[in-house]
Amino acid sequence: MPDLVFKGKAIKLGDNISTDDIIPGRFAHLRSNLPELAKHVLEDAVPGFTSKVRDMSLRAEGKAILVAGKNLGLGSSREHAPVVIKMSGVGAILAKSAARIFFRNAINQGLPVLLCDTDNIGDGDELEINLSGGKIADLTSGITLSCSKMPPIMSAILEEGGLIPYIQKHRDFKI
């Protein structure tokens, strides 16, 4: 189960970050080698992304929190996209809106995606995320944001740490 309340630092992204931005198709040969694939996450869209996240964890600044604009994760169904984001050390994703498959994939990987108005969060802001309450406090600017609710089945999957652990436990969908 992911931590329900945790602190972290914002890494801002723009609108329409596609799954090709997160993991370009040219790295398809690395898809069975996830640690290697994770080295290329967001490589073209956010130069230096992986070292930024690594530095944050080295300096014990809490988890990196990806803060995106609208339509995050549009494009392909590659679940490798949230997998490598999570592997790189990102603790949660905030976005104004997220593409359907990416959103579902991230939750299935136990990676929280919260939908809220991210405009007023600045790059590098310190954030406190309260998953169960769906609230985000921007400790740098002092603003508080509420997130839109996800269907109960998704919260249940997230609470179990992802779809596979959920199914291992229940052997079926429970709605």
């Binding site: 198709g25 398809a28 040969h29 069975s32 549009l74 679940e79 498959i101 969908f173």
Partner: protein, 422 residues
């Protein structure tokens, strides 16, 4: 509760054995589950991690080796081995390198009106052309669908796309769907169903419907649905599964979140500009932009009818010396028919390069990776930065007619200037 049902509500009611209304969460039986070779290995790993060994429905499970076909790299070849072994162990179906693109093969061989289809590929929506609630999912969801034979859905609200009029010369299904995506935006239909209706439907052929449904996901939609009408029935009959036909129409009183009306007669050739599919303009405004590569193929526009249009335009002409024209038929069946009908001969004589059936240059891992600063005009569905293997390249999306005409002139060209017939 609304009095009538949309197509999405009808299919999900049927498959969840209840009354499904937009906004409900339902568990639905899945009729066909598939993976392809770039999402399949993760799906199998998730399936095994879940502690599963047997497939719920081996006869209704397919693996497609189409994205890296033939494989350009050792790791991808090893993924193919893993997938072949899984097919042997579980008894599911497998389509080999050279058979064609998953979505084309699903349309040719499997999809029927009223079914639920899930694939580990976002363009699974293509089968919506046949009236199937077909949608792309990630590896974990597909792994669980493989194991349980069912999945959960939030029943989407629907947009009715009301089509009227007839396509003018030089304007095709691709121009319509690009126009619509430009109107709706890349996230305008997120979580929604696009449902196509209107008087024009009776003359929108199955290949055109497949092109349109294929790109529903480019507006964020969960599905792009056509009714199970006479055109669907004829297609099934032609493909030897007429018995699987069942009529499927939305109720007259169905509730739509939005209605978007389009008069086909007012459309013109359109294209998407780099690097966003919803960055749409008329071809006429981009005339003269030099292109180094043109690509006709993919699950959007690699069908026989697409090759026919390209062959007709290119017959007796040659591609521009500064422009490579790559052509990848979407299935072996398409390639065979294109040879029989003489299209391949016309295309090769025009100096086009025929690639094996499969995804080919579409996703940037082989067969036509672009160089720095190069411009490609492609009939695919995505032009994201880096899509064709190089973030320093530019991709425009258009119809096969626009691609063929542009390959002849070496620059973006309105097909109506080149061909009087098409």
């Amino acid at each position: 509760m609304s009095v009538g049902k949309t197509l999405a509500e009808k299919i999900l009611s049927l498959k969840s054995h209840g009354e499904a209304e937009a906004g409900d969460v339902v568990i639905a039986d899945v009729d066909l589950t598939f993976v392809q070779d770039t999402t399949g290995s993760l799906t199998i790993r998730q399936f095994k991690e879940g502690g599963f060994e047997a497939l719920a429905k081996p006869q209704q499970t397919i693996i497609f080796l189409d994205h890296a076909a033939p494989s350009p790299a050792r790791q991808l070849s090893n993924d193919h081995i893993l997938l072949r072994r899984f097919a042997e162990e579980t008894g599911c179906g497998i389509y080999e390198v050279g058979d064609g693109i998953c979505h084309q093969l699903v349309a040719e061989n499997f999809a029927n009106p009223g079914e639920v289809i899930v694939g580990a590929d976002s363009h699974t929506v293509t089968a919506g052309a046949l009236g199937a609630f077909a949608t792309g999912m990630g590896s974990s969801d597909v792994a669980v669908a493989l194991a349980l034979g069912k999945t959960w859905f939030r029943v989407p609200e629907s947009f009715l796309i009301d089509l009227n009029g007839v396509f003018p010369r030089g304007v095709y299904a691709k121009d319509l769907i690009l126009y619509l995506i430009g109107q709706i935006g890349a996230d305008g239909a997120t979580y929604k169903a696009l449902e196509f209706g209107g008087d024009a439907l009776a003359q929108i052929t199955m290949p055109q419907r497949l092109t349109i449904a294929n790109m529903a996901v480019e507006a964020g939609a969960k599905v792009g649905l056509f009714p199970g009408d006479k055109i669907a029935q004829d297609f099934l009959t032609e493909h030897g599964r007429g018995d699987n036909y069942q009529p499927l129409y939305p109720d007259a009183e169905a509730n739509y979140e939005q209605v978007i009306s389009v008069n086909l007669g007012e459309l013109e050739p359109m294209l998407s500009l780099p690097h966003a599919v919803d960055n749409v303009r008329p071809v006429a405004q981009l005339k003269g932009v030099k292109i180094q590569q043109a690509f006709i193929g993919t699950c959007t526009n690699g069908r026989l009818e697409d090759l026919a249009i390209a062959a007709e335009i290119l017959k007796g002409r040659k591609t521009h010396p500064g422009t490579r024209l790559l052509i990848a038929p979407s299935s072996r069946q398409v390639l065979i028919r294109a040879i029989e009908k003489g299209y391949v001969q016309s295309l090769i004589k025009a100096e086009a390069i025929i690639l094996p059936p499969g995804c080919s240059a579409c996703l940037g891992l082989h067969q036509g990776v672009l160089g720095d600063g190069e411009v490609c005009l492609s009939t695919a569905n995505r032009n994201f930065k880096g899509r064709m293997g190089n973030p320093e390249a530019m991709i425009y999306l258009a119809s096969p007619a626009t691609a063929a005409a542009s390959a002849i002139k070496g620059e973006i060209t309105d097909p109506r200037e080149i061909s009087t017939k098409y």
